[in-house]
């Protein structure tokens, strides 16, 4: 109790604390979105526009090839269902806290409430979100899909998620974040705490599809235990006002592995400050960080950070940025830190335009300049993310084709 009070005090004090990076968004500019539940039992009963919104972030309304589905509209859960309850457990975080005493031991343990004003706000709002648990040894073949949807204008959506993948289990999660048609301005705060236990695997894919005036401040921290694997794919291809995130993975157990792929396109007026951080705290841990970003007129800051604190750690960081416009900017900031002797951390970073030579090579095979640029851009952004539905692939292709046209 004393703890809670002191945390609350700290969070209150942190409400004005700016984040280390990114534009300092004013929380008071947005009304806190409704906590009223708008329950949707069957996603196929949603409007055609809503279904399309879901599909565009990888969430399939007919729930085919998905082991579970969770939808959060504004600040309330509107749908949570699983096909096989013994394989994966999925519910709102508030329900989970009521159901299991131990969930509180996982809440606000990786992310500090007073880290910045966004975490403080989320803590003080006692935000809801999803709770996903893969029981020990269970390997679900199909991914769980979740969608965090802003449904009203000029509101802030505040979310707190927890994922626990128990010993030897395997879990795939696709999270799509989007706005309902017609919502242009808003704020999304999302705290995610993820635990990958001994020998477990979590494949986490997050697709952002925001609107032009949305500010986005996710705060994600992941703990990976011995022999565990955490794969993170992050995609944002559509215009957005400002995204700033710096997900951090702590490799806590021997032989733990993580790979973080980030793919982003900064359109005119968008600012993407996308970081990834890995902290090697146990021997023989490994990590790969890959960032591929494009600017068509917006601002990109790609941060990659690896901090080696244990022997035998190996990590590689790749940060590539394409500039496809006279306007935009690309800044790559790789940081490597070795605090022990037996360690191997490396990086390669490159920013610039597509080599003329590459475009002409394809043109010599009969492709137009647009087609050539499109093919190169598609290849650039393709880091082999699995499990994306065809509708989303088509939408990604369409975005890439538009980028190709504009780049000429």
């Amino acid at each position: 109790m004393q703890d809670e009070l002191s945390l609350k005090k700290k969070a209150e004090d942190a409400l004005k604390k700016s984040a280390a990076y990114g534009e300092d968004l004013n929380l008071e500019d947005y009304q806190i979105a409704s906590k009223e539940e708008e329950v949707t039992e069957n996603l196929m009963s949603l409007s055609a526009d809503d279904q399309k919104t879901l599909l565009n972030v990888g969430v399939v309304p007919n729930e085919e090839n998905r082991s579970g589905t969770f939808i959060m509209l504004n600040n309330a859960v509107s749908h949570a269902s699983v096909k096989q309850e013994d394989e994966v457990e999925l519910m709102s975080l508030q329900d989970a806290i009521k159901k299991y005493d131990w969930v509180k031991d996982y809440s606000w343990k990786l992310v500090k409430p007073d880290a910045d004003k966004y975490t403080a706000m989320t803590y003080l709002q006692n935000a809801d979100g999803y709770f996903i648990r893969a029981p020990a040894g269970k390997k679900s073949k199909m991914p769980v899909q979740t969608c965090l949807l802003i449904g009203s204008k000029e509101v802030s959506q505040i979310v707190h998620n927890i994922i626990v993948v128990e010993e030897g289990a395997q879990l795939d999660v696709i999270t799509g974040c989007s706005t309902r048609k017609g919502v242009e301005k808003g704020l999304h705060l999302g705290i995610s705490e993820m635990y990958v236990k001994k020998g477990a695997t979590l494949n986490f894919t997050m697709i952002h599809n925001w609107a032009e005036q949305i500010g986005v401040r996710p705060r994600t921290v992941v703990h990976v235990e011995e022999g565990g694997t955490y794969i993170n794919n992050y995609i944002t291809l559509k215009p957005v006002k400002s995204i700033q995130m710096y997900p951090t993975v702590h490799l806590k157990g021997k032989g733990a592995f993580t790979r973080l792929n980030s793919i982003g396109v900064a359109h005119p007026g968008s600012e993407l400050d996308l970081g990834s951080r890995v902290i090697f705290d146990a021997p023989d841990t490994k990590a790969e960080l890959i960032s591929r970003t494009i600017t068509t007129g917006g601002k990109v800051i790609a941060r990659g950070e690896m901090i080696g604190n244990a022997d035998g750690a190996k990590g590689h960081l790749e940060c590539h940025g394409l500039v496809l416009s006279k306007e935009g900017s690309q800044r790559a900031i790789p940081i490597l830190e070795a605090n022990v002797e037996d360690i191997e951390l490396s990086h390669e970073a490159a920013v610039g335009r597509i080599a003329r030579e590459q475009i002409e090579y394809l043109m010599a095979r009969g492709l137009t300049e647009e087609e050539a640029v499109g093919m190169i851009v598609r290849g650039f952004l393709d880091v082999g993310i699995q499990g994306i539905p065809d509708e989303l692939k088509a939408s990604i292709d369409e975005t890439i084709a538009k980028i190709g046209e504009k780049a000429i």
Partner: protein
């Protein structure tokens, strides 16, 4: 098919081709000889229209049209194709995706990919980590799928191992001549080609019609390609330069 008239080209202000006159008649397979740095590759790159090769004088006429100022794409559309010597690494672009587009999604390249032992490269990034011989086979596969009317081959045999060279030679022959014979009225059969070769190995597979020797960005002389190759093998290019001097 192709007429090159008084073509003068600079790269970054440095003159590399100087008043080149050279023709490739319909169906003819002509050969370019010349020492390293003579400007042979630069000539092919200029013909294809790659940037960086600045035409300061002269014309390139292809199929009766002046293509000197056309884009690479327009030249390719007109039926010009190239097997480059040092193509760029195409990171992220899979060989299969390019072949799909070039073949307009008819997958007839599978068989040829098998023949050229390129199947395992179809899902790899084009040219990335390819050996010299693999690049040649990949280029030839692309070129065959593209099926242009006139092909520019830049040292097709260089870097190719002895086992692969026969398959490569036969594939080039099939590309240039079709599967039938190509003797007789040459202009009626097969494609036109301009081929750079140092070793002449490719001439074991392709019947060449005319040879040109390029030195210091100029055409030194032309003649029967087989005789020329013999002379170059026995006397080198020095004799060639001397001969030209005396002739003047």
């Amino acid at each position: 098919m192709l007429e090159i008239q008084d073509l003068t080209v600079e790269i970054g202000g440095r003159r590399i081709l100087n008043g080149i006159n050279l023709n490739v008649e319909d169906g003819f397979k002509n050969v370019l000889f010349g020492p390293n740095g003579a400007g042979k590759s630069a000539l092919l790159m200029t013909l294809m229209g790659f940037s960086g090769y600045k035409v300061v004088k002269g014309k390139i006429i292809f199929k009766g049209e002046d293509i000197t100022n056309m884009s690479v794409y327009e030249r390719a559309q007109m039926g010009l194709g190239i097997m480059a010597q040092r193509p760029p690494n195409m990171t992220g672009v899979k060989l299969r995706s390019l072949l799909d587009v070039v073949s307009k999604n008819d997958r007839k390249y599978d068989e040829l990919a098998e023949t050229l032992d390129m199947v395992r490269f179809l899902d790899r990034d084009i040219n990335v980590g390819f050996s010299g011989g693999e690049i040649k086979r990949s280029e030839l596969l692309q070129l065959s799928v593209q099926n242009p009317d006139m092909v520019l081959l830049d040292e097709p045999e260089s870097g190719v191992d002895l086992v692969s060279i026969e398959q490569l030679g036969i594939t080039i022959k099939n590309l240039l001549c079709g599967h039938g014979k190509c003797a007789g009225e040459r202009y009626k059969h097969g494609k036109s080609a301009l081929i750079i070769t140092h070793t002449g190995q490719v001439l074991d597979y392709v019947e060449a019609d005319r040879g040109f020797i390029l030195c210091n960005g100029r055409v030194m002389c032309s003649g029967n390609p087989h005789e020329m190759l013999e002379d170059i093998k026995s006397q080198g290019y020095e004799e060639c330069v001397k001969c030209k001097m005396n002739y003047r």
